[in-house]
């Protein structure tokens, strides 16, 4: 049962990593370290005066901000540990005999997903918080969690003996609900990574409108090109208002329809 225990631990850790990631992002620490995987070239945030001086010299446009850098690095440490746990799970899955029903595809699929997540984490920094990358990174984190949960349920003995009946329509409905949730999470991430969360200060109307003026094309331009620093958003406040108008409309519609 070591596999299931590590699986459960990984689920807990994934939740922590997700929340840490949100914390890094929402406290504007996403560019706390201008490089990856080190921080100003080091494994640990520079804190001795000579380290900080060397770091500032190597990265003249990004002066060391220890607070931000630490948040970023703690997130990376926890995420790396999660990656390690997933690798251990995958290796464990190889050792099982034909008699046990340990999944193999899932653990190795998870390895691929978590490696991709690491890369997305890198691109978050190197592509300067490009909304599409940060959104993908959030979705990747959720996907990792979802796969870990699915793996646990497939493997754990309690879930395996689920001898109950279910109406046919339930499967489709459950699948649809998960899909809708995925779309909703994407919309939420897109709002946040484009710094549009405050564009509608009121609720449920948006700046007084039930349906504010929207600009779908601009709001959903996925790729603005490189290199642009996206910190604090590149759209002006009017565009952002329309932007969120669109998002909030979509979500209000989903809530009140």
């Amino acid at each position: 049962m070591a596999f299931s225990r590590i699986n459960l631990l990984a689920i807990g850790l994934a939740l922590v990593v997700i929340m840490l990631g949100a914390f890094v992002r929402l406290s504007d620490a996403g560019l706390g370290c201008p490089d990856w995987p080190g921080c100003y070239g080091q494994l640990v945030v520079p804190n001795a005066p000579h380290e900080i001086a060397a770091a500032n010299q190597a990265f003249p446009d990004n002066a060391v901000d220890a607070g931000k850098a630490w948040k970023e690095m703690v997130h990376r440490y926890f995420a790396s540990t999660l990656g390690l746990l997933i690798l251990i799970m995958a290796l464990l899955s190889l050792r099982r005999t034909a008699l046990s029903r340990a999944p193999r595809l899932l653990p190795w699929g998870l390895v691929v997903v978590v490696v991709l997540q690491g890369l997305l984490g890198m691109w978050t920094v190197t592509l300067l918080l490009k909304p599409l990358v940060v959104t993908a990174h959030l979705l990747g984190g959720m996907t990792t969690l979802a796969l870990l949960a699915w793996c646990f349920m497939r493997h754990h003995r309690v879930a395996r003996h689920w001898h109950v009946a279910a109406p046919g329509g339930l499967r489709a409905l459950a699948g649809l609900a998960l899909f809708c949730l995925a779309v909703q999470v994407f919309l939420g991430a897109w709002t946040s990574t484009n710094y549009a969360a405050v564009a509608c200060p009121d609720f449920p109307t948006c700046q007084g409108f039930w349906w504010p003026p929207t600009n779908f094309g601009k709001a959903f331009t996925l790729w603005h090109g490189l290199p642009i620093n996206y910190e604090h958003g590149i759209l002006d406040s009017v565009a952002r208002a329309r932007f969120t108008g669109r998002i909030v409309w979509a979500r209000s519609w989903s809530r009140w329809s």
């Binding site: 994934a14 929340m19 949100a22 109950v164 459950a174």
Partner: protein, 81 residues
Amino acid sequence: MVALVMTALFVVLWRHGGTDERWRYMSLMLLGAVVLQVTLGISVVVFGVPLPVAVAHNGGAALLILVLILVNHASWSAQQV
């Protein structure tokens, strides 16, 4: 759309709780998670994106995903009536 689907799912799970109470537990988990997330979401907007609420909203999303994975796994591995 999301609300509609979630409500439908809740109703079906609740009613199916007649045959096996585990479905009913799942419907309650779903309800709890959705209510929590909606409350957090509204709070984020109304209170101007306070940091802890926004982080919690992210966590709430993760929780919702866990619940839906649970419901899906149960639905798909159950025997079809």
